[in-house]
């Protein structure tokens, strides 16, 4: 078999059994791999109504056919499970080196079942797979635990693990790998914690079999050239990392500030990518076989490590009204150490700040800490309290929706399907807002990054306020992203590569027969499969919406002044293009056409 090993590991943590299963990939091409095949397994094996933190839920680590191959950025893995944050399907992917290592150990996926009776970790060295005691690692932060695991398993071992936040079942907990890379969103780290699984350590020595090596070599060199020559992937991202977006998003008046109460931050320059490069950048920190190298490694005072990304700078920066970039780097460091999603944590602190500002959270609950917008120390200290579930941090650890709900004002949580929205105010980017509302994992920017055409002029510039044509753009972007996530590549390649390029890479690696058109259809199939899981989990189509503030309150100042999001005018066209009923349910014909019925 080319591109896949055709093998998956099934680990039952309760019985402590490991089974190597032959994976019949007859359906491989239909769902590609990664996100697609992971969701397929979830659909087949997990009751969508299961409690996400119960032993009934399964945790699936899955690579794509291009993971571990010489393709540019081909190192990603996906964590698929039912999300404890949203109740939807969770599929969080991560870069670094761990994913490629898992693949070259000879496995396409690991399916983790049930729950261990005491903390354990899994050690994989090609055929040798062991479940080991992890009681000495429980409670340890990410760097310390990673170092201990490297000492036990050899320096070449790649480590993927949870921090204390995952152990304490924070619904914002991430799965971390290679120290600072994160499968960050939707609380996948809490699912790992609920199974008493601290880490998976891998050493692999195999090669992924390639269908047409000569052709692949030519394609890789042509694609690398495209990536080098593209302004975004060849210049912008390598020079400044993702934080270069701070200024551009702010200049468009869509940089959410003070929990989306404003959309323009007058101190954006102080937290910009340009300032990061000038003051704090130590070096670049790229992932496996990545010619783009957007990853940053920064230092402030005695704290250093990977990041911060744009989303993180926004979450702890403008969303909390904070203009101290050093404090943002420290909060990011603590998220990495405690194993937390920076977007949800920053946004939850921002929501708590508004709850305090409006008098819902009382002074007595703060135990002497500040929850005032703009307080730099607060973002660092509350991050730690969330990770350790201390004081009010315990209530915050399950995300802004549950927090705001406790105070009787869930509308102050800037979430979709209970997951925190990222760093773009949708009132000034109408297509992106439609994508937020319809994302299969709740508030998310990387299910279909409409910022690309609506702001960054890639592949072409669209009027960001216009509604016409946006539903189709959103659908195509969502489908293409599902393809990239399923292949095992990084989404950032899509600034320079298109559906046809991905199809060619897939075919050269696996011997498949995709075209640009049919590969997008595979993306559509994966999207619909996720939708089916969500519907069966009891997520209502009415939840395809945005926080009331974004639908009803006009942006008060700045370049997007006067705008609200016009979801009502976009959603029917989107449902229709998807082949869904007016109620947002995939029609029988649609499911049949996609081979899902």
């Amino acid at each position: 078999m080319y591109g896949y090993f055709g093998k998956r590991l099934r680990v039952n943590l309760k019985d402590r059994t490991v089974t190597v299963e032959a994976w019949d990939l007859k359906e491989g091409e239909k769902f590609i791999g990664g996100r697609g095949l992971g969701t397929k397994i979830l659909m087949e094996e997990v009751n969508p109504q299961a409690d996400a933190l119960s032993p009934e839920n399964k945790l699936i680590f899955v690579t794509g056919p291009l993971t571990g191959t010489p393709t540019p950025t081909g190192g990603r893995y996906m964590v698929v499970t039912k999300s404890p944050l949203t109740g939807t399907v969770a599929c969080s992917n991560s870069g670094g080196y761990w994913g490629a290592e898992l693949k070259t150990a000879g496995y396409d996926a690991i399916i983790l079942e049930d729950k261990a009776d005491a903390p354990v970790y899994i050690s994989i060295e090609d055929e040798k797979v062991e479940i080991r005691d992890a009681s000495h690692l429980w409670g340890k932060a990410v760097t310390e635990a990673t170092k201990a695991l490297e000492a036990e398993n050899g320096e070449k071992a790649k480590v993927c693990l949870i921090g204390p936040a995952g152990e304490k079942l924070s619904r914002m907990a991430a799965v971390m790998n290679d120290y600072s890379r994160a499968a960050g969103r939707s609380g996948v780290g809490a699912v790992m914690g609920s199974k008493n699984l601290k880490a998976i350590v891998v050493k692999g020595s195999k090669k992924v079999a390639l269908h047409d090596e000569a052709n692949l070599k030519a394609l890789v060199s042509a694609d690398n050239k495209k990536l080098r020559e593209n302004g975004v992937t060849g210049q912008g991202l390598p020079t400044y990392g993702t934080a270069v977006l701070v200024n551009i998003i702010n200049e468009n008046g869509i940089l959410p500030t003070n929990n989306f109460q404003k959309a323009y931050f007058d101190k954006a320059e102080e937290i910009s990518g340009e300032t990061l490069a000038e003051k704090y950048l130590v070096k670049k920190d790229p992932c496996y076989r990545c010619p783009i190298a957007c990853g940053r490694y920064c230092k402030v005072d005695d704290i250093e490590g990977g990041g911060p990304e744009y989303e993180t700078v926004w979450a702890f920066g403008s969303d909390c009204g904070v203009s101290d970039l050093g404090a943002v780097i420290k909060a990011n460091y603590w998220c990495n150490e405690l194993g937390l999603d920076t977007i949800s944590v920053g946004a939850t602190i921002a929501a708590a700040m508004e709850l305090y500002e409006k008098g819902h959270i009382k002074e007595a609950e703060l135990e002497g800490l500040s929850l005032e917008f703009g307080n730099a120390e607060a973002v660092i200290e509350w991050t730690k309290k969330i990770g350790w579930r201390q004081g009010l941090g315990d209530k915050m650890a399950d995300g802004s929706y549950r927090l705001a709900e406790m105070y009787g004002v869930p509308e102050l949580s800037m979430t979709v399907k209970k997951q925190e929205l990222p760093a773009y105010d949708p009132r000034g980017v109408q297509g992106h807002g439609l994508q937020y509302a319809t994302s299969n994992r709740g508030g998310c920017h990387v299910r279909g990054y409409m910022i690309s055409p609506e702001i960054l002029a890639s592949p072409e510039k669209l009027d960001r306020f216009a509604l016409e044509g946006k539903a189709l753009w959103v659908k195509i972007f969502q489908d293409l992203t599902a393809v990239i996530d399923s292949m095992g590549l990084c989404l950032f390649t899509s600034f320079a590569l298109g559906a046809g390029d991905y199809a060619e890479l897939y075919n050269a690696v696996t011997g498949g027969k995709y075209t640009a058109e049919t590969i997008l259809e595979a993306g559509d199939r994966i999207w619909n499969l996720e939708r089916m899981f969500n519907l069966q989990a009891g997520i209502k189509p009415e939840e395809d919406t945005l926080p009331k503030r974004l639908l009803e309150e006009e942006i008060a100042e700045g370049p997007s002044k006067g705008w609200v999001h016009k979801l009502d005018e976009l959603l029917p066209a989107y449902y229709e293009l998807r082949g869904w009923t007016k109620e947002g349910v995939p029609s029988e014909e649609k499911l049949q056409a996609l081979g899902l019925a």
Binding site: G231, V244, N247, E251, E269, K461, F492
Partner: protein, 74 residues
């Protein structure tokens, strides 16, 4: 007329972050770029007072021009 210009990312090199340009009445965004020795192909996004602008768009007193090279992220 006075035009305010904000430059970002690599366009700042050798030019600075923010400038005030004294331009002839009716000058276009493209003419301002030329006076700053910025090549049109190096500009990916051009905002005039925070709204999408064009190179041939005429400017008015105190307009704000924000100019970005190709950048991306997510």
């Amino acid at each position: 007329m006075n035009i305010r210009v904000k430059l970002f990312a690599t366009l700042r090199e050798g030019r600075g972050k923010a400038l005030e340009v004294d331009a002839q009445d009716g000058a276009s965004a493209g003419e301002i770029l030329r006076s700053l020795m910025i090549k049109a192909e190096d500009v990916a996004i051009l905002l005039i007072n925070g709204k999408d602008g064009h190179l041939d768009q005429p400017l008015f007193e105190d307009d704000l021009l924000s100019i970005f090279p190709p950048v991306g992220g997510g």
